[in-house]
Symmetry: C2
Subunit: 466 residues, 2 copies
Amino acid sequence: MLPVAIASCLSAAVFSGDVGAAQRETRIPDQAMTTAAQLRETALASDLGYRITESLTTQVGPRLAGSEGDARAVAWAVAKFKELGFDKVWTEPVTFPKWERRSESAQVLGAHAQPLHLTALGGSPAGTVEGEVVRFADLAALEAAAAGSLAGKIAFVDYKMERARDGSGYGPSGKVRSRGPSAAIRAGAAGYLMRSAGTDSHRNPHTGITRFDEGLTPIPSAALAVPDADQLARLLALGPAKVRVALDCGWDGQYTSQNVIGEITGSKKPNEVVLIGGHLDSWDLGTGAIDDGAGVGLTMAAGKLIGNLKQRPARSIRVVAFANEEQGLHGGKAYAAKHAPDLGKHQLAAESDFGAGRIYAYSSSAPDHAKAADAQIAQALAPLGIEHVPGTGGPGPDISPFAEKGLAWARLAQDGSDYFDLHHTPDDTFDKIDPKALAQNVAAYAVFAYLAASAEGDFGSAPKSE
Amino acid sequence: MLPVAIASCLSAAVFSGDVGAAQRETRIPDQAMTTAAQLRETALASDLGYRITESLTTQVGPRLAGSEGDARAVAWAVAKFKELGFDKVWTEPVTFPKWERRSESAQVLGAHAQPLHLTALGGSPAGTVEGEVVRFADLAALEAAAAGSLAGKIAFVDYKMERARDGSGYGPSGKVRSRGPSAAIRAGAAGYLMRSAGTDSHRNPHTGITRFDEGLTPIPSAALAVPDADQLARLLALGPAKVRVALDCGWDGQYTSQNVIGEITGSKKPNEVVLIGGHLDSWDLGTGAIDDGAGVGLTMAAGKLIGNLKQRPARSIRVVAFANEEQGLHGGKAYAAKHAPDLGKHQLAAESDFGAGRIYAYSSSAPDHAKAADAQIAQALAPLGIEHVPGTGGPGPDISPFAEKGLAWARLAQDGSDYFDLHHTPDDTFDKIDPKALAQNVAAYAVFAYLAASAEGDFGSAPKSE
């Protein structure tokens, strides 16, 4: 998951579909509600989503965008869609700059010499810097540092992320990652360190993309594991501390990966689609289980279970495994650009990219004429312990570029209380996934997608007037 | 903590002190019981043990026996004893072979290529091996493998350690580490992998010493992090898997470290001592907080708090920070060898080397004539939530060589439910210590040592007849 996208599009998108006042009210037929209830129970009893996630994270493992694992993940997804019997399977190219991590290390120097565990932020340049560390309690403190005041020094933002079910603690911590390096450069720093944007206490640092503002010369930038940030803070409380940071990483040309798409063909309006999906790429440190193997696995499984129904829904179910979400929503942007002409054929879209915890809330951008159908979906989700919270949330990261153009979206909010214990760390591995929670997710996505695809009427997807 | 020592000496030592049938019964004076109760409350309100542990783990950090950190730890301990006002501070040399870890990595090769997180076992030779992995569910299965059956292959023992308050799960898991490599060599293996002897689910492998039986040529031997053992097992379930293991590590000559000793002089029998302590060395991966910075910190604090009393106990309190426990009880053996002539001057000894969890049980080797005094100690410990469990347990690792010669010992059993989540991993860091639990430990050791040093009569320490 990317820091900035999660809640970015709500205000722009919520009412974007209200194009005609006299529009017919959208409704879901009773028969579809009955079928959805059966589908829900079938999905809860199935381990398909869990097994697909196991397959991706085991057989491919890490799949950093542009890496050899990325290419294997694309081949895996194509093969998996076909194996599952999706009616159409295809890929769409996604081109982006390629960033590589080769090695990284850090040591406290001098009388208290010891290693520190850190990881380069995505987008960091290579470089070895040695310097006295200057600690800042938060990003605002660093941003207030005078130009040149950190010359030859290493800036360290020691902001502690807060745990929250909805992941709201990631907002300020994500900014420490995305904006901290540029602030450090403006103050003259030679290197940038941050306490990991994480809620754990393990020696596994959290990576994630950063960026450097136009006109600045990038500096080596990395995140310390939480215990190492604690340790550095303790050492700094004793007196000046000098640290050596050695990063070998950087950008290396362009790479073309693929959005991989599988479709279950609808029975009456096959050219209209309900889109669900996750992102296929991961960070390199773990095996991308909660971020976002689970999202891919559970939406593939939901599509497959809908495909198994005797009576297909009216519209097609399109499952998208997006390329390179982590480094800038490249797959989502490519999808939005390519499919802009058929935006109106997208009934409703939902992306799963917040782990594998139970879904606890449902919301969507449904306009007034679709609110009754939206409530019907919520009613079918309620037995899964999912609350209807209209007017909250926003689209998942990879559908947000399309949502900005007018795509109708839904949000199936996962419990992310533990998500940032693992997010972007080596610890993001398959063993962390609870199969029962994942089955609940599959059930929710299957019910949601089936009902949206069965609705008579639309959910307001329509190109926005600029 | 070393695997083999924890419960090794009970049967030999329990009654070793019963040298004379007409011996006078040992008793603790009422005034000492009153003072001990005050000492207990003072210790519970103090953060001294926590602060000493913080100082060692922060300022020295990792202190692998024979490393530069080892030398700094010795200097730290000498300075800390002096700073705390111990009456006598000295060192005693401990010589041992030096083992170094330089680098380590592993990858699955072929269609499912991906890195695996592992760490060399202490004592492993350097080497790079590539081979097909053969999985064994436990040590017995590997030991049953026919000679030559693993030629050119890598043996992998996938035994899962069980969690237990008393750490009993470490017995069988420790054997996988100590005996597995030799069993693998006998079957012809080129390399040895084991699931970490740990109860966590984090990507931090557990190191620890291994050994190779006489006459065998050592092979590269390492422990996979628990999630990586899971991953390798899943890959092997899919078909053959080839792995590359590259370890750069090994023995490099002899090194002389020091047992560091501080003494609070007794008021009436200064030449008799109650010995408490922990071990000063740690593994290199973490900062040795629970293993065994806490043991050093809490026993130093207990000694200091006794030293603060207006009325000193009759005997001296000797706090020993033992050298190189991890690689074979070298400090404990050196202490036993050097002090064999004055074994009878050692009233009673207890070592803390099982983390920083609350103490829940007390036992000792007290012979019949000291059982009343032993019960008095237990009575003074009871308000700390400590149960008296006579006839159980054994001496801590570093006092076990001396206990085998006849030293009377006590055991203050810590809750180790979480100990093997962290033990011998990078995650053994100061942030894992609960200050309240550590203060309870300090209180227990202070009460214990003070009362044993105040007793009229002995606890049965006497050289054993061979």
